[in-house]
């Protein structure tokens, strides 16, 4: 098994973190894993993406040309990356900020992750909603391990932050693809 995931959005959307949580989860399961960030010239507000590869085998390039899954958080990223999904791939789109192309033939999960996050009281957890819905479709890493990671990463002095992240993850897992 080798799963190549591109996660893309804009700076401030927690793109890098989403990827890291996924990568740490895979590490807990003793998988091979690589995480590769990429930044545009913009420091803030610009495009940002990262690439996560999870495998039972040694991993070649951490750079992904054709992905098994895209997690897309805004329109610009959608436009930029939609061509890089394999025909058999899974597309996860934040429809709060991006309009998935109807003509796309690949399996797609789309949800208003940002709106959901706002609903949860913290716009920043849209990334966890997205992660949850990806995991719901592809059990590359078990949600339990992802939970563990989130628990470890969360600042100990802000329990409410942890809670909202967990809630977001859960919301995500409730998505159905179709």
């Amino acid at each position: 098994m080798t799963e190549r995931i591109i996660i893309a959005g804009s700076g401030g959307q927690g793109i890098m973190l989403l990827g890291k949580v996924l990568a740490e989860g895979a590490l807990l399961e003793n998988k091979f894993v690589t995480w590769l960030p990429a930044y545009g010239p913009e420091v803030r507000g610009g495009a940002a993406h990262c690439m996560v590869t999870i495998s039972d085998d040694e991993i070649g390039s951490p750079h992904i040309d054709q992905a098994d899954a895209l997690i897309i958080m805004n329109q610009l990223s959608l436009d930029k990356f939609k061509g890089r999904l394999k025909d058999t791939g899974l597309m996860v789109v934040n429809s709060s900020l991006a309009k998935p192309d109807q003509s796309m033939e690949t399996k797609t999960i789309s949800g208003k992750f940002t709106d959901i996050a706002i609903g949860l009281g913290n716009i920043k957890v849209a990334n966890m909603v997205a992660l949850g819905s990806y995991l719901a479709a592809k059990r590359i890493v078990s949600p339990e391990n992802i939970l563990k990671v989130i628990q470890e990463m969360a600042p100990k002095d802000k329990p409410e932050l942890l809670q909202v992240n967990i809630a977001a993850l859960k919301k995500g897992t409730e998505f159905k693809h179709g």
Binding site: A23, L27, L36, D65
Partner: protein, 346 residues
Amino acid sequence: MPKILMSGNDAIAEGAIQAGCSFYAGYPITPQNELTAYMANNMPKRGGIFIQAEAEVAAINMVFGAAAAGVRAMTSSSSPGISLKQEGISYIAGAELPAVIVNIMRGGPGLGNIAPSQSDYFQATRSGGHGDYHCLVLAPASVQEGYDLTYLAFSLADKYRVPAIILGDGLLGQMMEPVKLTSQRPGLPAKPWALTGCAGRKANVAKSFYLKEGDLEKLNLKLQKKYKEIIAQEQRWEELFLDDARLALVAYGSMARIAKSAVKTLRAKGKRVGLIRPVSLWPFPKKAFAKPRNKYLVIEMSYGQMLEDVQLVLCGKAQVEFLGRSGGGIPSEEEIISKVNKIYNG
């Protein structure tokens, strides 16, 4: 100790600290900023010195000073900054000081861009500075190796009293992978030549200047002798599926990871291909080429630099093909496979 997820830059920094590096001076530059930041965060807490130097030139010369004073010392930068350090590296080599220099290469020439690249191979392996000197050059291909080879670089630098370079690229520096940290601190060798104050002994001098006729040639002969020994002792490489290979791919660093994937894919399709991954770039692992083989394909994120070393080793005894891209272009697995398909027969 369990594995932890770490970036290549962080792993190199941690490897240095574990190796007993107690002095780091650097100047920020992408894509190695995490390394500098790691040092800024960790050195003071762990008994070492961190200096954000005013510039790369100052940083390498601070390292000269700290190394002359007998401690394990390191600097890091990326391509343009490493170019600025060439004079200093030549001085370190000439004064026979041990030091570690990390180059997380980016696209060039000039300001280029911050994409990964392997275009500083010549500079690293053929003394970008002036004079007949060499640096030991180690090229990690994984974050784990970033850690391990940095650790090793310090001990080899001390052993031979030479500068050692860790040559990585932006991919390696910025990617995260699981790493196992081995936490035994090494015993540091005695350095009777170090500048520590002349109490109880004759005064020591750290220098590369030899004015008297013949003296500089003597130093050079001494260096050459040392280099011969390093060439004999320190060739390192990894090999894969070479036993029955008709065609051996040759690639180092991040490039070798992609080449390895290609090799596996090709093997799965029944092609007898193998891989030589040089780990030490200087000394170049000539020994890996000892067994007669028909064909080689050298793959680089540059336009044929390591290629020359392969050609020099093989000396016409095998067909050597090349695939390279530069300036941020990375030969993909598909490109490699299609190149192999073209040259495999015939």
